[in-house]
Amino acid sequence: MKERKCANCNNWSPHNLYSFVGYCYEKKKLSFSEYFCELFIELELEEEFYWCGTCRSIIESEEVKEHISKRHRISRRAFMDPDYREEIYEG
């Protein structure tokens, strides 16, 4: 079994740019990757897309195994700052 910390929790998503911090969708607040709490549940791998924090990219379910084998950080999705659009430039 994986270590019981936010980074491995199904409720938690890392920030898309800074992977050491993220958002807990259960507690509805920010927490840090090494934190842990009683609500921990292990990551369930049954969706179509995942977030690889190492590659900073969305990956398909078929690719998950390969990324995990390279010890990449996988989570269900990425958390983005609510105001991130103010900070991106146009094309």
Binding site: N16, F49, R56, E60, R77, R85, Y89, G91
Partner: protein, 267 residues
């Protein structure tokens, strides 16, 4: 082959959560199941976030300029009918600046498959109203509510003469893949309007918003209900609306010119 085999090593540059990921996976899996030789696969796109798809699928692809994928793709297909030519682009690209070519393609019935990544915004230029955005809607990057009426891609396609007209939802990857497989088998101008939530700029037409409204057609609508189905807006039907077999443009040219060959051979 598997969808995977068509992957490239480019770092994908869409926002996390973008509907384009669903389209990419569905398209990759569809061409894998149909087993198209990557050398014979030609994806032609315009300019926009969605048009970057050509970098993410291994093929013999062309990234053209804003709004002009259809003319370039038409030339390719007429020159070498053996190629599987797919046009991909945004609603702004294909139905705004490129609308004239979209109409002309329907009138010609060239064997091209047009995938509209329809997010109702100009994603790449930061969220201005796209041609399919309903009127009076004000999205987060807009100064004022939309003063244009929304264009209905299905009705436009029908009026233009497309011989395959369908609508899909980007996040329903498997049904989209099956639909793309079907369109790949069709001969003639075909279009799939793919509803594609833009997580960054379209704060109205979100994944949830669509999921509350979409439903699948049971069967191909008959002529009397076709237009009504295409026009439906409160609930949004998905699936194939229209499909007929007709002589294609190159067949017509060849018969007019009395030629046996289709297109230029030996390319």
């Amino acid at each position: 082959m598997k969808g995977f085999d068509y992957k490239t090593d480019a770092w994908i540059q869409w926002c996390p959560g973008c509907g384009n990921y669903g389209i990419l996976t569905a398209l990759r899996n569809a061409i894998a199941e149909v087993e198209i030789d990557p050398k014979k696969l030609v994806i032609v796109s315009g300019i926009g976030c969605s048009s970057r798809i050509v970098y993410y699928i291994r093929g013999s692809n062309v990234h053209t300029i804003h709004g002009r994928a259809i003319p370039v793709a038409s030339g390719i297909k007429l020159a070498n009918p053996d190629l599987m030519v797919i046009v991909a682009g945004g609603d702004g690209d294909l139905l705004g600046i490129g609308a004239g070519h979209f109409v002309a393609l329907g009138r010609r019935n060239i064997d091209l498959k047009v995938l509209i990544h329809d997010n109702a915004v100009y994603g790449l230029t930061k969220g201005q109203a796209g041609p399919t955005l309903p009127s009076a809607v004000k999205l987060r990057a807009m100064n004022y509510p939309n003063s244009h009426e929304a264009l209905n891609p299905l009705l436009l396609a029908f009026a233009s003469g497309y011989t395959f007209i369908a609508r899909a939802f980007a996040y329903h990857v498997k049904p989209l893949k099956d639909l793309i497989k079907e369109v790949l088998m069709h001969r003639g101008s075909a279009v799939i309007d793919i509803l594609q939530p833009c997580v960054t700029y379209n704060d109205l037409m979100t994944r949830d918003w669509f999921e509350k409204r979409i439903y699948y057609l049971d069967s191909l609508p008959n002529e009397s209900e076709l237009l009504q189905k295409m026009k439906e807006v409160d609930r949004i039907p998905l699936g194939v609306f229209y499909k007929i077999e007709k002589e294609t443009f190159d067949q017509k040219i060849n018969s007019i010119m009395g030629r046996k060959n289709k297109g230029v051979r030996n390319v």
